[in-house]
């Protein structure tokens, strides 16, 4: 196992932080040892520009979720370094990582995004409440109006539809104005109409509110909402597509399937 030393000076980091909301250099993640050794990320360099909506795609086991988890500080790296803004994740202990997630990162998961005991509004402000910060009223109002949930703020998650719940989760991710938002299959559990409204909102947050969003998905039409699509396979970034459309993404994905089948046949 080789350790990749990253010789980046503080000045470089600062300069980079102006341009990029998050960056990763030589990201490597290995699970297990010996026979069970699996390389989930294999020396990946990646960066996410501020105000850009990126979709990460790839077949199952390509490492797309691992990439997201490692970038977001949910999982540790075997080697390499990742930055959120100007903060290097690798040097942080659990407390530092927790604070980073709380203050700099927004999360949207596929399911179970909300605490059932809290109302929609309480869920939205939860990260700031945990931090003991007062939300920026005007920003919060803007976010709430953008997701269109003003009427339902006092409701508990069980009283909301799946699409509404995901929009509350989006609002929560945005409410603290994080450097970057990571969304893990945010529309995976939704019907296409609810999914479309969530995706439209994410795009609006990037275009009009200047947010940065990274979304893992396997749905080509979801990916078409993004500004660019990164394709992963076997722990490596194998392709990048700017201004994607659903059809083009689908075509590219089919190529993976064929490659996969060819590979299987070869064995």
């Amino acid at each position: 196992m080789t350790t990749v030393q990253q010789a980046t000076t503080a000045a470089d980091a600062l300069a980079a932080a102006h341009t990029y909301a998050a960056r990763g250099a030589a990201l490597t993640k290995v699970y297990g040892h010996g026979d069970t050794r699996v390389v989930a990320l294999d020396d990946v360099d990646v960066d996410f520009r501020r105000g850009e909506f990126t979709a990460i795609m790839g077949p199952s086991g390509s490492g797309k979720s691992t990439l997201m988890h490692c970038m977001a500080g949910l999982d540790g790296l075997t080697s390499g370094q990742a930055w959120i803004g100007e903060t290097a994740i690798g040097g942080l202990d659990d407390k530092g990582l927790t604070r980073l997630r709380r203050d700099k990162v927004g999360f949207i998961f596929q399911a179970f995004n909300l605490l059932p005991t809290l109302t929609a509004l309480e869920n939205i402000t939860l990260p700031m409440d945990i931090a003991g910060r007062t939300p920026d009223r005007a920003w919060l109002d803007g976010v709430i109006d953008a997701v269109g949930l003003r009427e339902r703020l006092g409701h508990r998650p069980t009283e909301l539809s799946g699409g509404q719940q995901q929009r509350v989760a989006c609002a929560r991710a945005l409410a603290s104005r994080p450097d970057i938002i990571f969304a893990d299959e945010p529309t995976g559990n939704l019907d296409s109409r609810s999914g479309a409204s969530v995706l439209a909102f994410l795009r609006t947050s990037v275009r009009e509110m200047g947010q940065t969003v990274v979304m893992v998905t396997h749905d080509p039409s979801a990916a078409s909402y993004a500004d660019r699509v990164l394709f992963l396979a076997d722990g490596r970034i194998v392709d990048e597509m700017l201004a994607p459309t659903a059809d083009r993404v689908l075509e590219r994905m089919k190529a993976f399937d064929t490659a996969g089948r060819v590979a299987t046949k070869e064995i």
Binding site: H69, L74, D75, D94, K95, T98, R99, R101, R102, D103, F107, F109, F112, N113, L114, L115, P116, T117, L118, E122, L126, P127, D129, I130, A131, G132, R172
Partner: protein
């Protein structure tokens, strides 16, 4: 299928050990209580059975008196009766004997051998070996005045051997004698701490001033004559003046009396056993629900592979069975621990139990029945749920707990509340035993009511009292409060254990504090004496002490007090015999009419309740019948406010002695010249030095001694509190662990969006504190109601004051909160240690 069951048991060792612990504790309480009771019975039955020959003859009491021993006077049985008994068909041997309490051996330092409150018994040596329960192990039997034999335990404890000189305190004068023999008593030599001193018959008779009379006759029946037949024949021969009983009857009677005397401790222990088993079954229900929920996929797979419903249910129940049997086995062992702890505790109270602990077959049977049954019943629901797992459940993620309506709870709780409140309110309207019974019924009703209603009350409590949490701890407080409201049934069941334990302790604390305050008030208002002379545990002592004290300079008055029982106008009444000439100088009674001057001769003073009950006024004539059958016409000479220092009725020493009352004193009240309280003390102490059985106390010391007894009982109860707290902690830990497990994904989410480990721990901790404080508050309220009602109901037992020990109760509440903090340690750590990714990924 069996292999799966076994693997599961091993896989969940920790959690099973945890739920097993509750069963262990519950069974330990049950078996401990039974082992202790059996041991007690064995010791005493052995004592009585070996004391009693096949049949015994005693002078008949005029009525069954609650007062036994020397207080009730000396039994007298003419020697002619022995001849009558010997002549009865079926009597192999009969011998008259003398037996008395109040004989104490002084050890080599001249101190009374500490029998721990057990009696010092003096007996005459039986000539007839077949009748003697004693077996000489050294020396010979006492044959003349100045010779005694000691029981082996007493000899060992004092270090006396054959040939040594000993001093003895007797109901008569102090005696010097030579030890001529050492003997064992009964089958295992056990005397429950009592000391036994044997004299020759003549010396024993002289000691009690009996002449040639006896205190009883022991009979051995001839072979082929059942005890009952011989008893009937003897009864016919000696007439109604004598009670004839078989050994079995005597043993049964004493055992019954003993059981009644100890019913308090049995009830208390059973209550704690109940709490433990209640919590135990609840923990098991929780644990198995968790295990089944975790294994949903596995069970579904089993079902898909063709396992029948019955097989799945059985596999879960077999796990429960193994747990129940293991828990019960350990519980029985734990019961030994509890029983020996009780034995140790009782020996400090003066009840020494010799020999090993008794483990009877029924104790084992009950312990296993209770332990296994509770486990199986608690596991049945989860087992059923496991069997109902559809094969497709392998794909589903959430097992939602359906919340059942609390309507039935509310209904049951309301009815129980009505019963409870009616009982308590009713207890305030009546007096005496009825009031205490009503408190009992009311108390039980309220406990049931609170258990039934606590799920209903849990949410309002969390909402109202829990409102301080968000204010003090922000979001973590808010989440804790919300979490505490999620499953009111579980919260209520968890809090109930603490509730019942604290309610009992609170009630007894109020009762104890009130009793102590009452002692202070009584001594402050009615004790005029400067000193009190008495034995530590109220044993009677020789009147020689009073005589010696009267001759001490500056001692102005000595009031002798004796106690007995008699029928006054056909109602059994506790009577006190006092020195009428000095009464006013040492005891200030509050007379509403008449006074102590009218007590002399055949005067009678009664307290207000007694006078009211009979409609007596000063000048009325009342007939008194004593247990010996002697009667006297007494004239009511005064009526005083009820006073615990004396009895409801007072007679003169003259009257008491003339009607067969004991000539031993229970208390001496001393009045000394004003200003001489300090200087005279050493002279008074010197006067009683030859009688180490009695002690001298000034007013404060006397008050402390009285209160000490109350405090000892409170200590016993507090010791049980510790155990009930332990059980309550187990319940809370289990509930929290279950909640943490159920909320794994929530925890993952919270950690992902930036909650620190410490914040997460605090959330669990605050929820725990909220639960424990809920239980504590319910317990304090309930215990407060019970304590106040109980104190009121016992006001005619001398508890005249009502004191609510605020500081102590506040400490209980603080303890409740602390329990919450401690119980949360492990579940909170578990929650905080969860890996964020794993928690999120859990489906």
């Amino acid at each position: 299928m069996w292999r799966t069951t076994w693997r599961n048991l091993l896989a969940h060792k920790l959690r099973l050990a945890f739920s097993g612990l509750a069963i262990v504790l519950g069974v330990a309480f049950v078996s401990g209580t039974m082992i202790f009771t059996d041991t007690l019975n064995r010791t005493f039955t052995a004592l009585f059975e070996s004391t009693a020959a096949d049949v015994s003859v005693h002078p008949a009491a005029a009525f069954a008196t609650g007062v036994t021993g020397p207080g009730g006077g000396v039994d007298r049985l003419p020697s002619a009766v022995v001849g009558q008994v010997r002549a009865v068909d079926g009597v192999a041997a009969a011998e008259g004997y003398v037996r008395t309490e109040g004989v104490y051996v002084l050890d080599q330092d001249g101190e009374v051998l500490d029998t721990g409150g057990a009696p010092g018994v003096g007996i005459s040596w039986f000539e007839e070996r077949a009748l003697s329960p004693s077996e000489l192990v050294d020396g010979r039997a006492p044959e003349r005045e100045g010779e005694v034999a000691l029981d082996r335990a007493t000899a060992e404890r004092t270090g006396y051997a054959v040939g040594d000189r000993v001093s003895l305190l007797t109901p008569g004068p102090r005696v010097e004698a030579v030890v001529v023999g050492v003997f064992t008593f009964g089958e295992d030599g056990g005397l429950a701490g009592a000391s036994l001193t044997a004299f020759d018959l003549g010396t024993a008779q002289a000691m009690l001033g009996l002449g040639d009379e006896f205190t009883g006759i022991d009979v051995r029946t001839a072979q082929g004559n059942p005890d009952e037949q011989v008893r009937d024949r003897i009864a016919a021969a000696v007439g109604d003046d004598y009670d004839v009983t078989t050994a079995q009857e005597q043993a049964d009677e004493r055992a019954a009396a003993l059981e009644e005397g100890l019913s308090f401790i049995t009830v208390l222990l059973t209550a704690f056993a109940g709490i433990a088993l209640f919590v135990g079954s609840f923990i098991i229900l929780n644990t198995f629900s968790m295990l089944v929920a975790q294994r949903t996929r596995e069970l579904a797979l089993l079902r898909a592979l063709g396992a029948g419903r019955g097989q799945v249910t059985r596999s879960v129940l077999v796990e429960a069975l193994v747990l129940g049997v293991t828990g019960s086995t350990l519980g029985v062992l734990g019961g030994f621990g509890i029983a020996s702890a009780l034995r140790a505790m009782f020996s400090t109270f003066g009840l020494t139990l010799d020999g090993g602990l008794v483990l009877s077959a029924s104790t084992v049977a009950w312990s296993y029945a209770v332990g296994v049954l509770v486990t199986l019943v608690a596991a049945y629901l989860p087992a059923r749920r496991a069997a109902a797992t559809p094969p497709v459940a392998a794909m589903r993620e959430d097992h939602v707990t359906v919340e059942r309506s609390l309507r039935r709870r509310t209904l049951v709780g309301t009815v129980a509340t009505v019963v409870g409140v009616t009982g308590l309110v009713g207890s305030f309207l009546v007096d005496g035993g009825t009031a205490a019974q009503l408190v009992g019924i009311g108390g039980l009703g309220l406990v049931l009511a609170v258990i039934a209603l606590s799920p209903v009350l849990a949410r309002p409590f969390a909402r109202s009292v829990g409102a301080v949490l968000p204010r003090l701890w922000g979001t973590t407080g808010h989440l804790a409060r919300q979490n505490a409201q999620r499953n009111p049934r579980r919260i209520a069941a968890t809090a109930s254990a603490l509730m019942v334990g604290l309610a009992l302790v609170t009630a007894f604390s109020i009762l104890g504090a009130s009793a102590n305050a009452s002692v202070d008030k009584l001594i402050g208002t009615s004790l005029r004496a400067d000193f009190v002379v008495s034995t530590a545990v109220g044993q009677p002592f020789t009147p020689e002490v009073a005589e010696r004290l009267r001759s001490v300079d500056s001692v102005d008055a000595v009031t002798q007090v004796r106690f007995g029982s008699a029928l006054l106008a056909d109602e059994e009444t506790l009577i006190a015999a006092v020195d009428d000439t000095t009464l006013d100088r040492t005891l200030g009674l509050d007379y509403s009419d008449g006074g102590s001057a009218e007590l002399a001769g055949s005067g009678l003073l009664v307290d207000q309740p007694t006078a009211d009950r009979h409609g007596w006024a000063v000048g009325d004539t009342v007939e008194m019948v004593t247990p010996t059958g002697q009667a006297a016409e007494l004239t009511v000479g005064g009526i005083f406010a009820s006073n615990q220092a004396v009895a409801p009725a007072l007679v003169s020493l003259e009257t008491f002695t003339a009607t067969g009352g004991s000539d031993l004193d229970r208390y001496l009240y001393l009045d000394v010249a004003d200003g001489a309280e300090q200087s005279v003390r050493s002279a008074v102490q010197a006067a009683i030095d030859p009688y180490p059985v009695v002690t001298l106390k000034d007013r404060d010391e006397f008050a402390d001694e009285q209160k000490g007894q109350v405090d000892q009982i409170l200590m016993l109860i507090n010791a049980l509190l510790v155990l009930s707290v332990l059980i309550a902690v187990l319940g809370i830990v289990n509930t929290l662990a279950m909640s943490v497990l159920e909320r794994t994904r929530e925890i993952g989410l919270l950690r992902a969006i930036g909650m620190t480990r410490e914040q997460l721990r605090r959330t669990v901790r605050l929820e725990s504190v909220l639960i424990s404080v809920y239980g504590s508050v319910l317990g304090l309220l309930l215990g407060g109601l019970l304590g106040v009602s109980l104190t009121r109901a016992l006001s005619d037992q001398g508890i005249s004051e009502l004191v609510v020990p605020g500081v102590r109760l506040a400490l209980f509440l603080a303890l409740g909160a602390l329990i919450g903090v401690l119980a949360a340690v492990w579940p909170a750590r578990r929650a905080a240690r969860m890996e964020v990714l794993d928690a999120i990924a859990t489906a």
